[in-house]
């Protein structure tokens, strides 16, 4: 509640204007703007600056950009060439695959022979110089954590790859730093740069410690954004709240009890969104083609992080549903469709969009300014959206 009484920062106002704030924060800023002339003026200044830039871009910048020097090619010819190249490549692959089957069979036979020999004589086969044992350690179960982070595979080139990035993400996930901490992970040509924006010293130490064992990782600390323009605290206690006061508030002893209920609800929603964001970012970082190119250890690690987020998300959604559903109409029964087989990345994107919808409806129904979403159908919409999300995360 303390945030109600302070002016929003410049960045928060910009996000508000852009519709980028979480529903809970957006509702808070909207309430503040109702009461604060100073911030309304700052918001109008921001909008005016954006409008001036857009006009400048349209009237000055874009006309000044050079036109393409040549007429555009007709890409259909290129498509045809690519199709022919792919088809001949596929023929080679078929031939190679047949040969590869023979190669695998021969290797297996030879391997079985060696094992049999070792079993008979009791003598291990000594590895040659430079050879390393390929026996991968099984995943280690830890309290609360699904698997241990495997050591990076030896690599001849110095390039940093998606598997290096995955180990950084796993280490950050291990300390819960992928749930809203202002930490940016960027893979450059030869390293993984972890940029921590405005983290306090204690958290920074935790991040450094978590990443200590990993090679080709660079940790940077960027200063916290300057928020001095935010101004002095302002009392706006008593600002109007809630679109759904009428029905629901009657079930509470006092407005304060209702406020407490809504705060809890929005906090649940925030936790749910943090999980949905983490899962969404994971899907963006490791799309199916990147995942397919990874080694078995990395795939296991990625699956463990994903499952951890999915399970936590399922719990968060269930908790939210448990709190909100008593005050909502029952969701309309949806026809049971055939489950669609889809990559987890696609499902993560879909679930993220559904979670966003729930987050927005929740704030509009219980905490938003009056009339932010028109019509009496809002509670029913929320009920349906929540039921859909709960069913999808449980799949």
């Amino acid at each position: 509640m303390a945030n109600w009484r302070t002016h929003p920062e410049e960045g928060e106002l910009l996000r508000y204007c852009d519709g980028e704030l979480r529903a809970r924060d957006s509702a808070r800023v909207a309430r503040h703007l109702v009461a604060c002339w100073d911030c309304r003026t700052r918001r109008d200044d921001l909008r005016q600056t954006i409008a001036e830039y857009v006009r400048y871009r349209r009237d000055v910048l874009e006309p000044a950009l050079p036109q393409p020097p040549r007429p555009w090619n007709n890409l259909r010819g290129e498509f045809a060439r690519m199709s022919v190249a792919d088809d001949s490549g596929a023929a080679w692959r078929r031939i190679f695959q047949r040969r590869a089957v023979w190669l695998v069979a021969c290797t297996l036979t030879a391997g079985t022979g060696i094992l049999f020999y070792v079993g008979q004589t009791g003598r291990p086969v000594a590895p040659r110089v430079g050879q390393t044992s390929r026996a991968a350690a099984p995943p280690v179960e830890q309290a609360g954590r699904p698997v241990a982070i495997p050591a990076p595979a030896p690599r001849h080139a110095l390039a940093a790859g998606p598997e290096d990035e995955l180990r950084v993400i796993a280490a950050l996930e291990h300390i819960g730093a992928d749930l809203g901490d202002p930490i940016e992970v960027v893979r450059t040509r030869d390293r993984i740069v972890v940029n921590c924006i405005g983290l306090d010293a204690g958290r920074m130490r935790e991040v450094r410690a978590a990443l200590a064992g990993l090679s080709r990782v660079e940790v940077e600390l960027s200063p916290k954004p300057d928020v001095s323009a935010a101004g002095s605290p302002l009392e706006v206690v008593g600002a109007p709240r809630a679109a759904m006061r009428t029905e629901v508030t009657r079930q509470f002893d006092s407005p304060a009890a209702y406020e407490k209920f809504v705060d809890g609800l929005l906090k649940n929603s925030e936790a749910m969104m943090a999980r949905a964001h983490a899962l969404h970012r994971l899907a963006m970082r490791f799309p199916p083609d990147v995942e397919a190119s990874m080694g078995a250890d990395s795939k296991t690690l990625l699956a463990a992080i994903r499952e951890h987020h999915e399970t936590a998300l399922e719990h968060e959604v269930a908790a939210l549903d448990h709190s909100a559903q008593p005050y909502l109409p029952p969701p309309a029964p949806t026809p049971a469709g055939n489950p669609v087989r889809e990559a987890w990345q696609a499902r993560a994107m879909r679930v993220f969009a559904e979670a966003e919808r729930v987050d927005q409806l929740l704030a509009a129904v219980f905490a938003g300014p009056q009339g932010s979403i028109a019509g009496d159908a809002r509670p029913a919409l929320l009920s349906a959206a929540l039921a859909k999300l709960e069913s999808d995360v449980a799949q």
Partner: protein, 185 residues
């Protein structure tokens, strides 16, 4: 966005591909017609010289074709196109001489507005100041502004540029503050 598409229109084309059962060739050819100018302009803002920007634009759509032909599905087609353009553009920028998208002579091209001579003079001065401020932005700030003006949301911009949502917000905030100062004189 003169010849370009709005966010929704481009999504519609992706949806058309499903509904009309377009082949990858037909779908990408339609997208290329519709969105190539937007991608070309974005590559120019990255500092790619026009001839290379044009070639790179075509390359982006050929990659899209290759991906669709393999049967892969792309959730957000427009963001995918810009992400590939961004990565390809950065690779090219490292190799070649850079083009300056915001040259100092641009202020000569600022059109006169309406109103009295005095108002026109004031307006012109504001736009000159704004032009200088735009030119002084960091490349990331400029790219974020450009992509935001194209209608991308923060998380899409983050995906395109390979940075976090919070960094996008911070780049935009700094850019807007700088532009505001220039307009205030």
């Amino acid at each position: 966005m003169t010849a370009g598409l709005t966010y929704g229109q481009l999504h519609s084309i992706a949806a058309f591909q499903e509904r009309r059962r377009l082949t990858p060739e037909e779908a990408v050819a339609e997208l290329f017609e519709a969105a190539r100018e937007d991608v070309y302009r974005y590559l120019l803002t990255l500092g790619i010289v026009p001839a290379q920007a044009q070639e790179a634009t075509q390359e982006v759509f050929l990659r899209l074709y290759a991906v669709l032909r393999k049967g892969q599905r792309i959730g957000n087609m427009r963001a995918w196109i810009f992400r590939v353009a961004h990565n390809h553009g950065l690779t090219l920028r490292g190799q070649e001489q850079r083009w300056r998208p915001f040259d100092p002579e641009m202020e000569m091209r600022i059109p006169d507005g309406a109103g009295s001579p005095e108002q026109r003079l004031i307006e012109r001065e504001r736009r000159v100041n704004l032009g200088h401020a735009v030119a002084s932005l960091s490349p990331q700030q400029r790219q974020c502004l450009h992509l935001r003006t194209e209608g991308f949301r923060y998380r899409e911009i983050a995906g395109i540029m390979g940075i976090s949502d919070s960094s996008v917000g911070e780049f935009l905030r700094r850019a807007i503050v700088r532009l505001r100062k220039a307009l205030d004189g």
